[in-house]
Every structure is written in structure tokens, then in C-alpha cells.
Symmetry: C2
Subunit: 352 residues, 2 copies
DNA sequence: CTGTTAGCGCCTTCAG
DNA sequence: CTGAAGGCGCTAACAG
């Protein structure tokens, strides 16, 4: 036996037309019971177990699944807590619609691979870090609905972003309200060149990662409005993990020994800063106040618990998925953020 | 404009045959540069951005993606650490092959939904809980390669299981060696009826989930061998999440106030037990020793760090995925488990 | 109810 | 190198 049996074989063997055979499986009520049974009988004896979705697909045009394009490779994706929270939101919406989720890695260049070019899906959700992301271009080529996350991609795509600038501003305003005047910023990476350390104004102007850019802008806006010269505030770039944060925090504390407040662009960096400060005998928040960003679960359990800016990653996933399914829904959403005040911030110490 | 432009339209507009147009995109070297450029030019002006994978699929027959059938719904899947680890293994293999991953929810009943019947994939990995799983039957109908995880499905399917019974026995033997004699078991669910709470012998006899059944058998084997009447050991069934675990742990502690050792069938349940014990002023391991199962990452970071049975879930994922891609690979594998002793277990407190 | 017909979009022969 | 033709498996539309 060469070929897998298909619907036409069954139809022929049962002496009915292909259309009728199709109905036996897709719309059984339309077929007279005796005919139906004969066809089913023949199908069984031929080892045919129902129509192949591949054929149906071409006809129907819809896959009933959406593709989620992940940065980096698939196995990193499953190890990343943000992706996970995001996917919970996406999955919730897909569950409700009976849709599937296909994971698409961004690293594939070869068109033989399963990638944005070749994935069988009805639409894409693309997580990006830069406005001009190559992935957006690829997704656009597919002419399928797609939504970008954390980046605005233009009129043809939906987008879900969170109010990074506003969140950063709130963090800075909180510290200003506590009387702080001498700040330092521990920044996420600005672009993909792997550079870390003190970032001067020229370096900051090259920022391509939107989250970094917007949070920086938010800090600047608040401090400038309070009459502080932002160019005099040291900004240190660090890799967003515990080690990178410790290195960055050390650089920061040495560059700005008189600072009383640190604005950290992520909780991971903020927690590393607290650790480094304590190692050097600085009390948090007694000598140094620290504000983070993200509100990861660890933020509530640290010592002291971290004041931070909370964003709902799950909600981001929900909105993104909904945009794919509801073409009528709003195309661009900005999710609010909120400042969560815990105990890593306190009034500025009195100058002596 | 009614229809999306397709390859045939481009070919016609460019005055070449469809075959040539196809080659322009799939095998550019085969086509004379001047012709190629003209076709590309026409394609651009028509807004055609390359062949649609849907058409290719039917011809090629391969999707280049595997389906992972998850128990329960998709959003639960992303919240479960065990699934996450498993997927890291699967993803690693898929990355290496340039294959994609499609998530298929098991709950779908409607054939219009994306389910095992309709997913566009080249093979399935099915995580099951019961031998006679309905999912296995559905997967078999698709006539695609499939492998079952945690269950042996028969000759036509591969399978990857781990030595649950042996692992459970080791956990119990460890506690016995520490001198414990008064045990309690916090069990995973026994079947799909949603029931939780104390499970008597009759209830236990109805167990359909293989992991639950085998671990229970392992505990029983070890305790019985040590002369302990397993029927007198309270067994509480709980949902495998933080809330369910807390409820179950509370029930357990109340049902067996004198127990010195808890055998928990998952780390999630074990961690919940530790939390609940501490909330009630019981010291772990001073008053109560707790052993988990799985060795999820959180187990090493808990307070106290959890003694548990490690199974390499990542490896399970790797093996399962490899079986799909390599029809020649061994079809049935049993992965070993190992006891990881940390600090949630200690010698039994002296009876007073 | 049932049969016929005509594609869905593409790729791959096989001739030229 | 290029063109013509057939078919991958199925279903919707339309006649009987």
C-alpha cells in the first residue's frame, strides 16, 4: 500500500460520491443513516479515520491558531518568568475561543524552518524590544493580523504597550515627594551591543530599546520638572540579572557616593542594588532609597520589601490575544501602571 | 479587489508560467536574473510577498511542527512549573531541528476547535494521566507519530515514563531511616472527579491517574515493609496548586496531628504543606519532616530547602521530542529518579 | 438526500 | 533554463 487512504478512496469503495462521503464525517445528519453506516463501515475497513486537516485547511483558509513569536529560542522562552506570565494571558483568551497557540522562534533564518514566514497560523503576536524590529517586517509580509507588544508598529498592526514613561515618572515623583534631591539611575541596557557601565548623554541618545528609552524619559521629565539637572544625574547601564545588577550597583554607588535615591529600571536591578548597598554598610532606606520596576513576586518578599512600579503582564497577554481575534477591538492600548509603595523608600536623610 | 493575490496572478502579470514564478521564490538560482527581477518587480507591485504556507503544506505534507497536548487548559499549562520544565526539554530538541511547537488543549470537545483532531502538526506528544486516556485514542486516530508521557500506550506509540513507584518508595525509606513512624500522605488527585480531602481505602482503589497510583503504591510498599499499617496512614487528596495544597495540608494536619512526617506527591504540595505547618507554629523539620516530588526549581530555594524526589523533567521532554523526530529511536524509555536530600527532613522528634 | 464540479495555492514532474 | 499539466485532500455550491 503506497498512499494513505483518503476520502476519495472511501467514497469510491462505498459507491458514493466524494461529497456524500465528506458529509458523513462533517455533517452526519445530512446523510441517510443506512448510507452513512455503509460509508463508516467501509472507512473502518480501509483504516480511514476521518478527514485530514491539511486538506480542510486549504479549503477553509483558517487554521484556528495564533502564533506567538518569541525573542530568542524556544527553550529560553520557557525559562523566562515574564514570557510565562504573558502567555497565561494569551492562553486564557485562546482557551475561551477554542484556538490553539503555535510558538514561533525568532532566531530561524532558514525558510525550511518553522518561522514567521512559514508558520501555519491566523495571526501573530510579536514581542519586540525595538521599534524597527526585523520581526515586525517579517510579520507584516505575511499579511496576517498581527499585534506588537511593547512597541508601536504602525497603522497596520495592533499594539499593546504599557505606560513606561508614566510609570518611571511616578517612581521619580515618589522620591521627590520624600524630599530626595540627589539621584542616580540604574538602567536596563540601551541597545543590543552588550555595553554596560556609566552612560553619558551621547550614549543615552543611541537608546534603541523602547522600555529603556521611555523609562529614562519618565525619570528625566519628573526630575527636570523639580528643577534638577538630569545631565548631572549619573546613569549606569547594567545587564538585567543578579550579577549584572551587582556590578552596575557598585559602579553607581562609586560614581554617586552622595546620592540618596536610586531609580532602578527593573526589580532585578533594584534588588541587586539593595544587596550591594547593604554589603557596603549603607542602610536601605535609611541612607539610600531604592525604587524598582515590574513588581515581580520577589519584590514583596525582599528585605526591605521593594517599592516598585507594577505592570500587569498577564493583562498584556490578554489584550494582545483579543486584538488578534477581534478586528473591531481597539488597535492600540496603553496599559496603566501603578506605584506600589513598600519599605525600600523613606524620606531623604537630613544633610549635615 | 476580491481575492488575495497569489502566485498564479503574479506569474500571469509577469508573463511567465506559474512554475517559473514558484522557482523565483523557492529556488532563485534556477531562474535567469533578468526574469527573476521582472517577476519580483511585478510581485512587489501586486503586493505579493511570497508563497502562502497553506498551499505549500498540502503539497509537502509536512508542517514542521509538533503538537504538545496539554492536560487541562492552556492557561493552567503556563502556570505549572512541571509543564514548563518539560517544555524546555521539548523546545531544546525542536530548536535544534528548526521545528515549531503547537500547544493543543485537551479540553476541546467541539471539532471546530483546535484540538487533537484538527491540529496541523507532524506528530503529537501527549501528556496523560490515565492508561485508558481518551486523548490516546484521539491521537491514534490521527495516524501520526505520537508519544505518550507518563503512560504506556501500546505498540503503536512511543512512551516516556519515570519510575514513580521507585521514587516514592525511596522518599518513604528516607523518612523511615530517620526514625519516623507516624506518616501522612498529601496526594495528587486520584481521578478526574474534582474530589479532594481525606481518601479512604475505597476511594484509593478507584485511582485512575497513573502517577498518583504508582506513587501511592511506592509509599505503601516501603511503609508496609517497615511494619507500618498503611491503611492507618491518612491520605488527603488535593488539587496540585498553591491554594489546593494549603487546603489539603490543613486537612492533613488536623487529621493527623501526631504525624511527624508528610509524604507529598509533588513539590507544589510539599511547599504548601511547609507553609501551612509554619503558619500553625510547627517547625519544619523540627516538628514535621516533609518530602516532595519533582524537584522543581523552587524546591531548592524554599525555607527550609525541600527534600524531594528528582526526576529530570527536562530530559523527559527531550526524549519525548526525539522520539517524534527519530522513528528509529527506542520507543519506550523509563527514566530513573533520585532522592535529593535537603533540609526539610530530619530525624523524628523523640516521643515524649 | 445525493452526485457533480470546481477550486483552495502551491510544487513538481516531464517535455521543450 | 522555461512552460504546461496534474494533483496534494477536502468542501461548498449547485444540480438533480
Amino acid at each position: 500500500m503506497k498512499r494513505r487512504t483518503r476520502l476519495a478512496d472511501v467514497a469510491e469503495a462505498a459507491g458514493v460520491s466524494q461529497g456524500t462521503a465528506s458529509n458523513v464525517f462533517a455533517k452526519p445528519d445530512l446523510v441517510r443513516p443506512e448510507v452513512r453506516e455503509r460509508v463508516e463501515e467501509v472507512a473502518r475497513s480501509l483504516g480511514y479515520h476521518g478527514p485530514d486537516p491539511k486538506g480542510r485547511l486549504l479549503r477553509a483558509g483558517r487554521v484556528n491558531a495564533i502564533g506567538v513569536v518569541v525573542m530568542g529560542d524556544l527553550s529560553y522562552f520557557f525559562s523566562d518568568p515574564f514570557s510565562r506570565a504573558f502567555m497565561m494571558g494569551v492562553a486564557e483568551v485562546c482557551d475561551a475561543r477554542g484556538a490553539g497557540i503555535a510558538l514561533v522562534s525568532a532566531v530561524s533564518r532558514d525558510s525550511a524552518n518553522w518561522g514567521i514566514d512559514s508558520a501555519l497560523v491566523d495571526g501573530f503576536i510579536v514581542q519586540c524590544q525595538e521599534d524597527s524590529d526585523r520581526l515586525i517586517e517579517l510579520a507584516r509580509r505575511r499579511r496576517l493580523p498581527f499585534v506588537t507588544v511593547d512597541v508601536e508598529a504602525g497603522a497596520d498592526a495592533g499594539s499593546v504597550v504599557s505606560d513606561d514613561r508614566g510609570g518611571a515618572r511616578q517612581a521619580a515623583e515618589h522620591l521627590l515627594a520624600l524630599g530626595h534631591r540627589r539621584f542616580a539611575v540604574l538602567s536596563l541596557e540601551m541597545t543590543s551591543d552588550g555595553r554596560t557601565g556609566l552612560a553619558d548623554r551621547a550614549r543615552r541618545a543611541t537608546t534603541r530599546y523602547t522600555a529603556t528609552r521611555d523609562r529614562l524619559a519618565g525619570y528625566e521629565e519628573a526630575l527636570t520638572a523639580a528643577g534638577i539637572d538630569f545631565d548631572a544625574v549619573p546613569v549606569v547601564e547594567a545587564e538585567n540579572n543578579a550579577e549584572g545588577g551587582a556590578v552596575g550597583a557598585a559602579t553607581l554607588i562609586e560614581a554617586a557616593p552622595r546620592a540618596t535615591a536610586v531609580l532602578a529600571m527593573s526589580d532585578v536591578l533594584a534588588l541587586a542594588t539593595i544587596g550591594e548597598a547593604q554589603r557596603r554598610g549603607l542602610a536601605v532606606p535609611g541612607d539610600l532609597s531604592v525604587v524598582g520596576y515590574d513588581d515581580i513576586p520577589e519584590a514583596a518578599r525582599s528585605d526591605p520589601p521593594l517599592t516598585t512600579v507594577a505592570q500587569s503582564v498577564i493583562e498584556k497577554g490578554r489584550r494582545a490575544a483579543r486584538m488578534i481575534f477581534d478586528p473591531a477591538a481597539s488597535r492600540h492600548e496603553t496599559l496603566p501602571v501603578s506605584l506600589v509603595v513598600r519599605r525600600s523608600t523613606a524620606p531623604a536623610p537630613q544633610p549635615r
